[in-house]
Symmetry: C2
């Protein structure tokens, strides 16, 4: 059955973004063909992309641009074209960016509706970034898998997607490393 998966890069000390949401530390990731192929396979497997408002707006400000399409054509095509589900109380229902298609704005997390979306999706749902959404869905035990791409860098401060949730044991489902020092750890709920 298609699953609801979190796919996030995290620093060694557990942050998915810097204190002000910075992701410029991604630049420390060394080029590595196998890692690059993995992230592209992951993107092409695709499915519905799920966001909170903050990550959504960051994605929308980058991926439809010429610069993004020139720098990573495959990723730009996937992110621009795939169905996108965004949780927001304030965003308009309709998006007006012509290169940014298939957006559904949802006001509240409704477990039943989410379950229906999982069942009706052939390729599953993937959350990128979106700490507050990961946190809420984790509390409600609605996430099926966490893929943590551990980047070999310490940040010292930043945003955690698990901040403030209670002690939550998970189960390690898979571990893999790449030549550039990235460790991919996959966890599932117990």
């Amino acid at each position: 059955m298609p699953a609801l998966t979190v796919f996030n890069h995290v620093s060694l000390d557990g942050f998915f973004a810097g204190p002000r949401g910075e992701i410029d530390w991604f630049k420390t990731i060394r080029p590595d063909d196998e890692y690059f192929a993995y992230t592209h396979r992951q993107a092409e497997a695709g499915g519905t992309l799920v966001f909170g408002r903050v990550t959504y707006q960051m994605m929308k400000s980058w991926w439809p641009t010429e610069a993004a399409r020139a720098s990573d054509p495959l990723m730009a095509r996937v992110v621009n074209a795939n169905p996108k589900l965004v949780f927001s109380k304030t965003l308009p229902e309709q998006e007006d960016e012509p290169n940014w298609k298939n957006v559904t704005v949802v006001r509240e997390i409704d477990p039943d509706e989410l379950a229906r979306r999982k069942t009706s999706s052939k390729t599953g749902l993937t959350i990128l970034g979106s700490g507050s959404i990961v946190r809420e869905l984790t509390k409600r035990r609605l996430i099926d898998e966490y893929r943590l791409v551990v980047v070999p860098v310490v940040l010292g401060a930043g945003k955690s997607m698990f901040e403030g949730i209670g002690e939550t044991p998970l189960s390690l489902a898979d571990a893999k490393t790449f030549g550039n020092g990235i460790a991919l750890l996959t966890y599932r709920p117990v």
Copy 2:
């Protein structure tokens, strides 16, 4: 050459202790013969144990007791007998606990003195816990290896051994998993 190694359990979200220093979440670690053998090999390889005051006092309040020696005789023997180096401005120079031997109290971090201790030690130095000491030594780039035992549990809040240090890239030297879902990630300075 013997090295200065950090050996710490961390939660999935990067904490080596809860907000008030709690380590009761270690109880979530499932029994696993291979993991148990690894931690005992690690302890027997021994060398000098290095602490900050807080971790030192916690260790001293547990390992010399009858209960500790009954629950984990090998670990108790190692921790009680091995040379211990503790960084503290306030602890007395001499310890008075008869089952707690070989203690050296040092008032300041002196890189030259630390280098001499590394050279003169046959088996190296291992830091356990001691977030503030890991932080200071990391800032000064005095640590040779970080062994992070990633426990499959989210805490949501806690103490980070890297809190407040600037962006610091490390290099992944080794990765290993155990049947109980623990991932052992070993990093070295770049």
